[in-house]
Every structure is written in C-alpha cells, then in structure tokens.
Subunit: 1014 residues, 2 copies
C-alpha cells in the first residue's frame, strides 16, 4: 500500500528529477503553501525558479473537530512552482500522478476551471481544479499577480491535496484512516490535534488578545519594512494573516473590520513584494539565465499548395478552456474567420466552427486556392500637372505611371476629392490562400477576447488558457504562421490520457475523421445531443429520467471532448435532504445530472466522463465516493442547522458584512423590515400578505449564517425557505424568503407572491440606494455587487407584477433606512441608473430608441408606467399621419427653443383669431379626460389642436418687429408649450423623434450605435 | 555530489526503513526539533514511537548576518526519536552516516559527553555530541525527562546538524556554499534571509512589544490548559519560547530575569506534559504493544572452570562514558572488587583496574579457583537447654546438631551475648570462584554510583551511560551472570569503527593481548603517558611545546581508547586574538592542546584522535576546518566589539535586565558606582585606587553587551579587562574589571587589587540586597541567582583582604542604591543570610559549632572580626580552666534569666562586701583596655572578676524574702550582666557553650548534625 509518507517521497523524487529544489515547510502557521516565501516571493521578478515542498496548512476556519471526513484545521499540501511555465505543465503534472501510482488509463482526470484569488496577499491566478473521478485533488494555477505585482514570467503553481489523493488511493472514507506509514494512521498522529485546535479556534482563543497581536504584528511588519527588511516583514504579515484567521473563526471580525484587515494586509504584501523586487534587482538578478535562443523554426513539412478549392482547417489547441470562454470564443471565431476571408478576397464555402475544451476549430469548405483579383483606381497627380506646357509628360506623371508599371498615356482623368486628377486603373492579382492566411491568422487569434485572459509564457501572449498547438492546413498544405512563439503545424492531439502521440492531419479533409477515430466529438451541438442521449439511456437503467437543464447540459458539453455518461448511485438515506441541496451539490459542485422518477429524486446521478476506458468501475466508484462525502457534509450541516430555529440565526448576521461602509447583514435586515412595510402599504397588500412580508423580511437573510449556506452560498433563499418551514413559519413567509432573491439571473423566475414581491423589491432598493450613497456604482465592466442585475430585476418585477411605483419615493424610503439625513445626490444617480437599465431592457425587446428615450425621460421613475407608455407611443408612431402630428406638436416647442427668457402671455391682448383659436383648443385639450402617463389619451386630446396649430403658424408671424406684440405671441407659444408638456406622458424630446429613425422601422439598431454615449 | 536535499532524502529513506514515521517540520518557530510535539510530547508515557523529520530550527541568538561560516539564525536539524531505545542506537546511527556516504574508516568519529538540558521545557537527557573529525555533527541523547516528567521508557534522540555534515561532505567552508540541489546553493536560497533576520533579531525587533507578546502567549497557554487543550497550550508555549529567544537576542533579558522567564515556561511545559499523559492514559494507551517476551538466555559456552589460580577479568562494556565518570567508576570498581573478593574469601593476586570510555575493567591476578574454607562458631540453644533433666539431649539440641551435620556431643559451651549457649564450630568449604563471582558481580556493578546516572532500557538499570556488554572470564571459563537484562559472556569489542566483530576472550590472560592487538590501551595512566609523549612529539614537529595542563590531559586520556595525537595548524592571523580566547576555544570547545614556543602561541594545535587509520589527512583537515571556523567566529566578534570603546557599551546595558523588578544592568552599574565610592571611603583607599575603583565600576558590566561575551559568557571579565585595556583604560581599572567577578567558584582566585576588591564587594552587596529586597532569597535547593555563592565570596574577600566592614552599614548603602526609602526588614534577613554562609564556611573549616554560633550572634555583621573572634574564642575554650571561667560568666546571666522585669540597682544601697567587691571588679574590668571584638582582651578583662563572682554567689543569697533587698541584688546582677554583655565580643549565648560539646573536641560534627535546622 502506498502510505502517506510514501506518496510524499514519490512526489519529492519526481519533482526533484524535474529540476525542482526540494524545500521545507515554513516555520509559521500558513493557510497554504502559496504563502511560503518560496512561492509568494520567488514568483516575483524575472528569475527562474523551480521548487517543490510539503506545506502543513493551517486553516482554522476549516477545523471540524476531526468529525468531517474531508475537512481539517490542518491539512498537508504538496506545492510545486514552475517558473517560467515549462510549456507542458499539464503533462508534467499527469506524470507526477503516475509517479504516485495513479493509473491514468483507469481514471477520469479533468481540469475544471477554477480561478484563484487571495485578497490578503493581493494575489490571483487562473487555472483549474484537477479532478480525479470527480474528486478535487489539485489546484493548478497560472499565477498572474502576487503582492499586487504583475508576474512576468508567469509561474505555474500546483497544489496537491495530499489527504484527498491518499484517501482515494487507499480507498478510505475519513482522513483519519489514511495509513501514514505501515504502522500508524493519519488519525493516530493528528486526530487529537484536530479536535483540540478546533476547540481552541472556535471556543477558546482570546479575541481581545488576538486583536492586539494583529496590531503588534502589523506594527512589526511596518518597522521591518522601514528598516528595509523584506523577509522579517513578510513573517510578520504571515502572523497577521494567521491571527486574522483565528479572529475570523472566533466570529470576531466585524463587518467593517474585514475589508479593513484585508486592506492592511494587502498593503503590507504589496510593500513586501516591492521591496523583494528591489532587492533582487539590486543584486543583479543572479539567477537570471540567458533565455534560450528562440528555437529556429524547423521548416514544416508544408505539403503542396492546393491548386483548386480545398477545405481549410484551423485548430487552436489549448489547455482546458472554461465552459463560458469556449462559447464566447466560438462566436468570435466564426465572425472573425468569415471577416478575414472576405477581407482577403478568398472565396469559400460554409464556415463551420467547432470546439471542445481543448480545441477551437474553424473548418472552411471549398476555400479558394488563391485570392480573387481586384481592380482599383489609384490616384495620381492633378490632371493639370500631367503634361507640361509643351505637352510632354511631367516628371511627376512619369514617376507615377512607372510606379504602377504603365505608360503615362494610360492615365485617365477623373473628378476626385473636389479636383481633377490623373488616375490609373490597376488590377491586383491575388496571392495564394496559404500566404494570405499565414498573414491574417495571427491577428485572428489575437482578436479573440475573453472576460478574463491570462499570460503564461515569455511571449506575453494572452488567452483564456494557454495555447499549446496550432493546426492550420489548407488542402494538404500546412499554412505556416507563428503566434505567441508557436509555429503552426499539421497535427492535432488526441484525447488527454490517450497513449497515442500527435495525430497528423496531412490534409484538411481528414480532420474530422481523425478526431472521430480518436473518440473526439469536436462540435458542441453534436456533443450536447450525444450527452442528452447518453444520459437518458443511463437514467433508463434505473427507470429514471433527467429533468431538462439546458444550462447544465451546455456546461457539461463544454467540459468534455468525448462524453461518456456513467450512472452512479448513492445511499438512499441522503434523500432525506432537501431536494435543492441534493441537486445543488450534484449540479453545482459536481456537474452531475440528478436522476428522477415521478418527480422524485432517485438515489442516482449521472456523471459525464471524458473518453472511454476499459472499465468504468473505478471512475464510477470514485465519483460515488465524492458525492457520498459531499452529501455527508451537507447532511451534517443541515442537521446542525436544524438544531435551532431559523430566527435564532438572525443575531449572528451582525458578524456578516453587507458592505464595509454599510454595516452588517443584521443592519440590512432591520432596514428591510421598515422598507418592506412601506412597500406593503404602497401596494396596499392584504393584512396577511403584509404581515408575511414583514416577517419574511426579518428572516430573509438568516440562512446566511447557517452552515449549509456558508458552505454553498447558492443555496441561499432555498435553505431559508426550508429552514423557515421546518421552524414552523407559515408557507407564505417561507416562500417569500425564497422569492426575495428572484430573479437571480437573466431568465430566472420572478417572485409570485405578494409578500415575496414586496421583499424582493425592498432588498433591491436597499442595496442600490446603499451602494450609490457611498459612490459604489458600477463603472465600466466593474459591478462587484451585481447592481445592474439588481436594477433589471427591480424593473422586471414591477412590470411583471403590474405594480406602479414611483422609484423616487421608494428610493427615498431606502435612503431614510440608512439614516444619513440630508438630500442625496445619490438618489438621482441611482434613479438614472435604474432608468438606463430599463432603457436597455426595452431596447433589447426591440422598442425604438427614440420612443424609449422620450418616454423614460419623463416617466422613468415608474417602470410600469414607462413600459405602458412606450407601447402606446410605439403604436402611435406607426400612424400614417404621425409626422403631421409630430410636426404640429414640435412646432410649438421649436419656436421657443432659442429663447432663454420667458414671455408673459395675456389672453386679453390676443389680437388674432388664429391665436385665440389655438389658445382655446389648448384649453379644451387640457380639459379632456386623460389617464396619467397614457400616450393614447394625450394624443387623443392633442390631435384636435392640430388645425389650430397649423393655422396659427400659417397666419401669425410671431417674430414681428413690434416688441409687445412679438412678446405676447411668444408668450402664447411658451405658455401653450408649457401646458402641452405638462400634459404629455413623455419628455419634450419626443418632438425630436426623427422621421429618419422612424422610417428605419424601429430604433433598435440606432440605439445600439448611440447606446454607448448614453 | 551529495546535495543538501539528497542527504535529507537519504536520511528519510534510511530511517523509514528502520520503522520511523516520517514527520514534517512544525508550523511554528522552534529552536530545535526537540520542541516539535512529535518529540516533546511523544517521548512522554509508555507508548512506543519512532519518528524522523527535518526541523528548520530558528535560533535568533545564533544569527550572524550570514557572515559566520557555521552559525545561522536558522539551521536545519534532522531529528530522530527511537522509543524505546533499540539496544544498538549508536550502531544504527553510524549506519545512517554511511547511508549519506560518510566512510567511517576515514574519519575520527567520537562520542563526546554532552548533557543536554532545556530548562524552559523542564527537559534533560544524557548523551553526547557526535564529532566527525572534531566537528559536532549530531546531538545524541538518552532523554530522561521532559516537561518535568521522568521518561519511561527512555527515548533516544538523534539530532543531526545538516549544514555541518554537508559542509564536511561537500568540502565547503561556508554554509552558503553548500549545494542545496544541483543548481542552487544553500546561500542562494537562504543567505538573504539570514542577513535580514539577523538585523531584525539584533536591531529591529520591538522589545516592549515582545514582552507584551510573551505575556499574551503565556496567558493563552494558561487559558488553553484550563480548557483542557494540551496542544494549543503547547503551541502558545512554543510562541513564548521564540518570543523569549528574540528578546534575549535583543539583549533585553538580564541574567536574573532569565530565570524568571524560564520558570514561567517550565511551569507551562510541566502542565502540558501532565495533560498529555492524562489524555493518553484516558485513551487507554492505544499504541502500547505487548513487550516482547524476554529472550531466553542462550547458554553461554562457558569453558571449563580453572582448577587452580588463574587470572580473572571483568569488563563492563559501555557506550562512551564521560571523562569524570570514568575516573570515578574506576575508583569504585577497584574498591568494590577488592571487597567482594575478600568478602567471598577468594584468594587473589594484584587487582588492576583499567578503563577507557567504552570499558571498565578489573583484572585480578591469580584468583583462586575456589573460596578458602572458613571456620565459624554457630550459636545454638542456651546451654541449659541442651540436656534435659535426665541428661539426654533435648529436641532443640538434637535439631541444632542435626542441622549442622554433627552430634550433640560435639556441641560446646560458650559465653555469648551475656548468656551461656551451646555452640558448634563449623568449617565451611568454599565454592568454586565462578559461582561466587556470578552471585556477587551484579551487586558490584549496581554499586557503582555516578553524579548523574541514566536509565536507558526497560530493565530500569541505571549507569553513567548504557552498558552494552559484559565480559567475565576466570581462567578460561565464562563467569555467567545477568545484569540489567544482559548476560555476561566471553568476548569484548574492538575499537569503534573497526571492521572486526566481537573479540573472543577465551582465557582471561588473553585479555590485554587482545586489546593491544586491537590498538586499545586500556589503562588510563598508560594512555596519559602515551598522550604526553605523542603530543610532545607532535609539538616538536613545529619546534613547539605544550604548556602543562593536567586537567586537559586527564580529560583527553579519558576520551580515547587508542590515542593518536595529530598536529594541525591554523591561520597565523588568528594569533592576534587575545590568548584567553584562543586557548579557551581550543581547550574548552575542542579539547585540543595549544602549541607554544617561548611562551607564545604557535598557529598550531594538537588533536588526539581515537585509533589509527590509513591516512590522517581527512581527520586533520576536518579538525582544521573546525578550529578555523571557531576562530573566525571569535575574530569576528572581537573585531566588531573593538570598533567602539568599552565605555560605549555601557548604554546598551539598559537593555539587559538585571532582574525584572530591579531594573537593568545599567541601573546596576549606576548603583555600583555609588556603592563602590562609599566602600572606597570606608576602606580609606588611596586617591588613585579610589578613582580606579569608581571608573571600573562604571565599566565592569559593559562587556556583557559585547558579542564575544554574549557568545561565550565564561569570558566575562576577561574580555572586559581586554577591551578596557584596548580602549585605553588604566591597568588598574582593567584589572579591577576582571577581578570584580572573583571568586567565580569555590577555590577560585580572589581579587588582589584594592580597586578590584572594593568593586567585587560592591557587586555582591548590591545583588544580595537587591534580591532580598524583593523577597527573592534562596529557598531549599533553589538559588537561581547564586546568592549563596555571592555571600560566601563576600565573606571570603573581607577575610582574605583583612577588611573590617560592618555589613549592616554596607547593606544600608546598597539598600539606598535602590532608592526605595523606608527601613527594610530585608536588610536584616540579608545580613542573617550572609552570617549563615560565614557560619557554614567556618564550620567547614572545623571550627566548633558553639564557638561559631556564639561569635556570629554578636559579631556576624563584621566577617573579619567574627573570624578573628572565633579563632580567639576557640583558643580560649581550650584552656584548662575554661569551665571555671565559663561558669563564672554564665552564673551572672543565669540568675536573671527567669525575669522579664528589670530591677534598679543603687550602688549606695549595697549592703554586702561581696556585692560591692563584685561591682568594683566589674568597673575595673570595664575600664581595662580592649580591642573591640577581641575575645582575648575580653577574657583578660573578665578573668580577674572570677573570684568576686564566686564570692558573691557564695556569700549572697539573692532571692531573699525582703523585696527591696532582693530587688537591689537582682538589680546588681542585671546591671552587671548588662555591662558584661556590652563588653563581650560574642553573644550572650556563649554562656551556653556546653562542656559536652567542648569535650567532644570541637563542634564540627555537632554542627553538621544541627546544621540542617539552622
């Protein structure tokens, strides 16, 4: 049996043989091997570094009294740093697994997106969790920043979770049962410590003392930095960090404190990093080696160029892309490929893009062998300068003609740019396709953008994950190009874990066949269908079925290249857990498909593995172990949570930060109670609904303090509903607690109950107003508090539930909740922000831009009203006589537009009939019955005025010389306009609704273009 | 090349194969692997445990800015625990050296006594430093106690110093040059840290904060213990320990304060240990295995018993004995062997005892084959009960006779024990010698006592170091016995490191030949002579000689079995160092003989290696490396120290605590200045001496802040003298600085200069008064501040230098120095304490107890006076008429003893002549010239009074009925007694000097018996 210590030996030996220096654990309590200076500092700066070591990692917060099979206050990490990245870190890593006896052919190894961040150290990176049959065994990260410093070169960090790996290898169910050596178990040597340190961290550690200690260590870090002592400062920082962790575990870190603590630590981390960089620079970077000379590009066996149309394939081979990045990359690839082919005048057939986590493929049918020819006019000297006075060609003309290889006599005369010039018609013959593509493809790849991109090697190239190979073959010729230090070639790679080497693609038409022969389904849609089919078949084995979940299906399809759905089972006893918990764990943690029959869960799940193997027993068994442990965790949490009623968790919310400057979740709860009551009054809720809403507002955040939700935040609301119900709250209250988070994402369900609706609105109003009040509105792509989603949800709920609400008033209530006093500018900003969200929503629905803008400018504060008005106005503008109407309306405004003054109007001083008629029609219109905000009513009132308006402008010359007369006429206009405006359900802007935009049949396109400036 | 990490691998592999669990370094800053709970806690209790691990050990005090080749603030220990000891741990250890490529045949490996103690943890053990060619590479300890708990079983602890071993293996001169792996050196990865942490520890760390932190960690340890959390408490203790170490490195812990910190830590360590023991006991000692059944004693090939006298050899084979223990064991062995042979009536020739570090041998010439016959008288029943009334033998007599195998008629009559008994003369024939010896030898071995003995195995046997074999051969017969689980045999062992196996001693007469054939010189004196010869020869190679040093010679002779003196050299540049430093390092640290010529040191040394090897080059080279590093250390310290004048270190004394409640060493310096000035005045020193004394008082502690003294405390005073002289202070001042520490131990030299004397007294007075003033007087065997030695020194100096000093006054000055005000009770306690020391001193000198007591009771405050008075009184009590004199004297006191009142005496009311005569003789005596304190003068004055006294008591009845008369007579007595007492140089008690005690010829024995109650 491979013991715990054997595994460490084996890893030490393996990584030493790969040139890693074998380092020792650090002499301080660290939360992770990353914090060992051998990582945190050595990844900084340009010098190469390879290191491997064990790190006993102390995480007070994970302490579980030794009771939890997988979580410990101290666990052993095996940490590896490869700097710079070696080009094949995944393969190296997989070989290290073989070194500890894991037979890759028998297991499903997966690289699952995981982006790592350590805010206290100002550090982050992109990478994966590595899964062994569903069990996370390693964190694999391309380190991008540390101490706030951008890392160049990038380091690869591997962090093995030794306990998990050994539990899997030894087949034990609790970390305590791992054999450490032949004689003693892990539990023998560590279990008492787990139990005692848990008690210390959760129950005993002296909070006041810890605070003092933190301050002391911080002071010591600063003293050290001032003395230029990087490493002692870093030690003190590490002590700060551990002290903070204990404080946090004691539940003693108050709301406003947490961000403060992080900021203080991050500040030190940054200075430490800067100081270290400076030290190494002053030392002349002694480890810096001459970068290896760029390897000469070996001439690719390029094959012969096609002499007629032939398929072209481009495959960008990557390390595992995150599911969303794969989707987004394919959209861009399709668009870009089409564009470059068109720009390059390359005739082609269908362009098909396909992708798996490890490859982005564009397959172009019938791509021409070369570019089409193009004719173009080249502008030469002014025609007057072509011949001199003697009629001989000037030097300018001769030179121009010569440069094009033609005679001066061939030049023609053409009007251009407001002058007459000599021009020449030039035909450009196209080059061969491979040559054009070789030029264009680098730009195509560089043009693919990701929300989070990373660097990995010395080329500084960025992509979602590292690119590892480039396949580009036209017909049977390699299209030779270079990108990010890589050279394109004529081969692809098989499934990960396959024993086959690189797969030659000697001709583009072989591409799909070759992949298929290697099990790979390159097309996303095909995989999706295949998975659907397979999971249904698998579910059928237990007479079950799969509830549709397009999101999960889409994600899973993006996680595998060769899907193999496998049925696993778990203990029926777990079915006692709330369904949301079970499905949440299965879907969210493990990407399993839950299996059900007759609407009830079966004790089964389906995992979609990647690739076929001789036997799937180990894979299924491994996944079953994982889900068992996960469910055991959840069961423990739920049982512990249910020991007390939900209400009892409310007080603990004082330890949960809502936002640093906005107090705790308990504070928020108190505000929500008041705000919900106001909204309940506003919406005239029944007494029962009102009481439910208020009760729900008191409890709605309580589940955040429960173990289950702390463990799996996505269960918030859902657990709240369950715990409320189990605590004897009414169904209405329980449901409102669940509903108040709705909608959680675009397309999510909306609250249906009155109480849930009121509370959902209150929650959003409070969050929006609060964050705006401290200037935390979203900027650019930054929206850490999800305010855009919140605002959209707010609007959606009001519209969906047909609720009229004046947001200005409602935000005023929210503002009052913060007890700041005074009149907030923030309120207007916030309102404007919400209106812009509704604008976007309506534009996305295809409403014309001008219409939307016109309505929102006056009615934005009431989303439901605005929605109705937009629909009304939209209908009106479709009227055949809309322009007449519009012109009549806008004439009134236009005449007064240039005046800043207002003019007095005296009815008795009216001299002309037409003016009087206009005035009277106005009075009549004003008196006509109208629903506030209704466009139709307004138009109906206004329409009769049109003749009078036309007559007025025909008959009356407003701008007469006589001042009194002129001013009275202007006064009539102003006054009339003013009344009209007050009647209008839209802004004055609708007079500007442009015929052009209307003629274009809707404002959608327009708004898209203008949108950015709004 | 074996890299640093390779060596660790090799050790891990070796020890894992020996059943050690491979553990990881602890997550806290530890000074040594011992402090890892895997050692400190696991050695407690009965459960077996084998573990091995690397421990990066943080010792701030050893930090040297990376400049010193051998010392670092962080070094890597490799730690092994074998519990219980495996029976051959030394051999196992040596094999582990081979596992890392050390060829034992080429090196001088030595086990040099080193008794390890960690006072902060209440832990100690006996064992060795293991030297590789003079370089300490491992600490090898039989752990006896931890946390104040006696360990049973005993654990063997091996602590490898990895840097030293690797420097030797790689042949590099600075730890920074060690190749850590193929690419990086140790310096690459650790040198910057060394430099920075050194600066932090020595210059930057915030002392006040550290003190607070210590208190905080201590409080946390106590909280944890109260909550029953052993391991968290232990973590806090470890943090205390590191914090203390940093404080100490900052020079912020005074000698006296140190004991306080240690006590606090030891207290926690003890409670932690108790708590751990309890935990394991409550858990039922799950690791406890059934002890292996005692292996049956294989029958020894015992040979045939000699049938006539033959040599007998007993060899107790041990692991390396400390030099002093070897000496003491041989004395005991000689005495015991002679005694048991005599007791056993075994005729024998010369008994020769011999010994080396690994064997204690008694060789008996011509030991008889069997015991001599013995005749003895056996006492039977009373003679009257031998025959009954009928003259027939009684049953008692018959039985008695039968038990002896004789007839009743053979019984004889003899006066015995005050009665008449029947006795029988019985001849006992002797048994064979081997049988008698087999019985007696275990007792002989058990009877050998050591100052520090240890247990090692489960038998519980104690000895100086473990016994590993027993050789006992008489003629050619093994004398079979068993001791401590071992069975005697007929073989010995060769030199350590020899490839030869056990050496059979088939006949005792072969013993010496066999050893000689194996290079071993078993006789101490022979070795000593051989070493003398060899070192002189070796010194001769450089025309040098060796200054006699019997102590060193004796020690070295006890360290080797086969001496090989080897000449080494060092860089002449080191000769600039003070001689005390060089010889101190050579002799004290390395047991080298310094080589000199013409009274000056040569750059050479002689090391006495153990055993011959093909070439000594590696051994010499190794030793040269060691001394070079040692001297480099010293040179660095001295050079750094000399950068500033001695005076400039004075201010740094403010960071050295004298004692927590008594301020810093700087405070002490200030007090010493004033006190020295007062004493100089008191002793009427010359102006020059007085100025020297005061100047010296200002500088006397300054060297404590120098690096050299911080490193090697035993150089205090000596370095002060040197630095003072180098700083331009006068010789008198420099000498006084040196002298003020004298005497440092019993038998040490005393100060000779006036200035040195005054300062030495001042220092002791200040320390004594200070510690008494805060109640820190010694109790029981506890005397952490060495006050007993201080008081003895004080008395010795005063007596030796013939200085009269009233300690009450001098302590008053000392008291004033502390500026506490008020009248201290402490002063009387302190004075009493000093007097008790002088009492002990005088009793040790053989002065009669009563005399000493009598004198000290009145003259104790002036030690010189008391000394003189005791001598005087002692002489007087030897007078023939002493009792008369004593009686006369004490009569006066005795009569008044029972009255509490005083009685008035009026001379004019005297009625009797005899009373008047007494009174007049008293007046006369009072008026006679006397030196204060002189016993002789007093006796001379008193003696003439005797007739008057006798007459008074004969003639006058004091206790007459008439009150006035009685009271006047009593008044006369009281008054007379009062005057006598005021004249007496001793206390009233001398009237109680008992005739009995005097008759016993001196109070020595008496005082020894009574001493404990005083």
């Amino acid at each position: 049996m491979l013991t715990f210590q054997d595994a460490i030996f084996a890893l030490q030996k393996f990584w030493a043989s790969e040139g890693c220096l074998i380092w020792e654990p650090y002499y301080l309590q660290l939360g992770a091997g990353t914090m060992n200076p051998a990582t945190f500092l050595r990844v900084l700066g340009p010098e190469p570094w390879r290191v491997a070591y064990v790190e006993p990692s102390v995480r007070p917060d994970d302490a579980r009294y030794g009771e939890n099979p997988n979580r410990m206050g101290l666990h052993y990490q095996y940490q590896v740093i490869l700097k710079p990245e070696p080009g094949d870190p995944q393969e190296l890593y997989l070989r290290s697994l073989e070194a500890i006896g894991i037979n890759l052919a028998k297991h499903d190894i997966r690289f699952v997106e995981d982006n790592w961040e350590q805010p206290a150290l100002g550090a982050w990176g992109l990478g994966w969790e590595v899964w062994l049959d569903g069990l996370e065994i390693t964190q694999f990260t391309y380190f991008q920043q540390a101490g706030g410093q951008t890392l160049d070169p990038v380091s690869v960090e591997l962090t093995y979770g030794l306990e998990r790996i050994l539990m899997a290898i030894q087949g034990v169910r609790h970390f305590g049962e791992i054999q450490w050596d032949e004689r003693r178990t892990y539990g023998d040597v560590n279990l008492a410590a787990e139990e005692q340190h848990s008690r210390y961290y959760f129950e005993v550690a002296d909070v006041d003392l810890l605070r003092e200690m933190f301050n002391g260590f911080e002071a010591e870090a600063n003293r050290s930095l001032e003395a230029g002592l990087t490493l002692p400062a870093y030690d003190s920082l590490l002590k700060c960090s551990h002290t903070f962790n204990v404080l946090d575990t004691r539940g003693a870190v108050g709301v406003t404190e947490r961000a403060g603590y992080f900021g203080r630590m991050r500040g030190i981390a940054r200075r430490v990093a800067e100081s270290y960089l400076q030290e190494r620079e002053e030392a002349g970077h002694p480890w810096l080696e001459q970068p290896e000379a760029t390897k000469p590009h070996t001439e690719q066996e390029s094959g012969s160029s096609p002499d007629q149309s032939a398929p072209f394939v481009l495959e960008i081979g990557t390390e595992e892309l995150p599911a969303q990045d794969l989707t987004s990359a394919l959209v861009q690839l399709e668009e870009s490929m089409a564009r470059i082919l068109s720009d390059a005048r390359l005739e082609h057939g269908a362009v098909q893009v396909m992708g798996t986590p490890r490859r982005l493929t564009a397959l172009v049918n019938e791509l021409a062998a070369g570019q089409s020819a193009s004719d173009r006019i080249v502008k030469g000297p002014p025609w007057s300068k072509v011949y001199d006075a003697d009629g001989n060609p000037t030097q300018a003309a001769s030179g121009f003609a010569a440069s094009l290889g033609i005679e001066v006599a061939d030049l023609e005369q053409q009007e251009l740019d407001g002058g007459t010039y000599a021009v020449a018609a030039v035909r450009e013959e196209g080059g061969p396709a491979w040559k054009v593509l070789a030029e264009k493809l680098p730009g195509l790849i560089a043009g693919i953008q990701f929300d989070k991109a990373m660097r990995w090697d010395l080329s500084g190239t960025t992509f979602s994950r590292p690119i590892r190979w480039l396949l580009a073959v036209h017909g049977d010729r390699v299209v030779p190009f270079e990108y990010g230090g890589m050279v394109s070639g004529g081969s692809t790679r098989p499934l990960r874990g396959s024993q086959t080497g690189e797969l030659p693609i000697s001709t583009a038409s072989d591409y799909l066949k070759t992949l298929e022969a290697n099990e790979i389904l390159p097309d996303v849609a095909t995989r999706r269908l295949e998975i659907s089919r397979q999971i249904e078949t698998a579910a059928g084995e237990v007479s079950g079925s799969i509830a549709p979940d397009e999101l999960l299906l889409g994600e899973v399809a993006n996680l595998v290249e060769a899907p193999r759905a496998l049925l696993g089972s778990y203990d029926e006893a777990f079915l006692d857990l709330p369904r949301d918990v079970l499905t949440g764990v299965m879907k969210k943690h493990q990407r399993y498909f839950p299996v059900e029959a007759d609407g009830k869960l079966l004790p089964n799940f389906i995992v979609v593995a990647n690739g076929q193997r001789e036997s799937n027993d180990e894979v299924v068994h491994g996944n079953e172990q994982v889900i068992r442990a996960r469910f055991a965790d959840a069961k423990y949490f739920v049982a512990r949570d249910l020991e007390r009623p939900l209400e009892s968790y409310v007080q603990q919310l004082d330890r949960l930060t809502f936002q640093t400057d906005l107090g705790s979740m308990l504070d928020k709860t108190h505000r929500l109670e008041a705000l919900t009551a106001s909204l309940a009054g506003q919406f005239e809720l029944s007494e029962g609904d009102g009481q439910s809403a208020v009760r729900a507002s008191q409890l709605c955040k309580a589940d955040l303090a429960t173990l289950m939700v702390v463990d799996m935040t996505s269960l918030q609301g859902s657990m709240g509903r369950y715990y409320a119900s189990e605590s004897g709250e009414s169904e209405s209250v329980s449901e409102a607690i669940y509903e108040h988070y709705l909608p959680r994402f675009a397309g999510d369900e909306l609250p249906q109950t009155a109480a849930g609706t009121a509370l959902a609105l209150a929650d959003r109003l409070d969050t929006l107003m609060g964050l705006f009040s401290i200037g935390e509105q979203p900027t650019g792509t930054r929206d850490p508090f999800g305010l855009r989603r919140g605002a959209v949800g707010l609007v959606q709920i009001l519209v969906d539930r047909q609720l009229n609400l004046d947001l200005r008033i409602a935000l005023g209530w929210a503002w009052d909740g913060y007890e700041r006093g005074g009149e907030p500018d923030a309120l207007e900003n916030c309102l404007e922000f919400i209106i812009r969200r509704q604008q976007q929503l309506m534009l996305d629905q295809g409403r014309p831009y001008d219409v939307v803008a016109a309505v929102l400018a006056s009615q934005g504060a009431n989303p439901l009203g605005a929605q109705i008005a937009v629909r009304g106005l939209e209908k009106q503008v479709e009227r055949a006589d809309w322009l007449t109407l519009l012109q009549a309306y806008s004439r009134c405004g236009r005449i007064t537009r240039d005046f800043d003054e207002t003019f007095e109007f005296a009815e008795e001083r009216i001299e002309e009939d037409s003016t009087r008629a206009l005035y009277q029609s106005l009075i009549k219109a004003e008196a006509s019955p109208r629903t506030p905000g209704s466009v139709d009513d307004f138009i109906a009132a206004f329409e009769p005025m049109i003749p009078a308006i036309d007559r007025f402008f025909e008959d009356v010359m407003v701008m007469v010389d006589e001042q009194a007369l002129r001013e009275n006429r202007l006064g009539a206009c102003c006054n009339g306009w003013s009344i009209l405006r007050s009647m209008s359900p839209t802004s004055p802007n609708w007079r500007d609704i442009s015929p052009t935009s209307l003629l274009r049949g809707g404002g959608y396109q327009l708004c898209k273009e203008q949108g950015t400036s709004h």
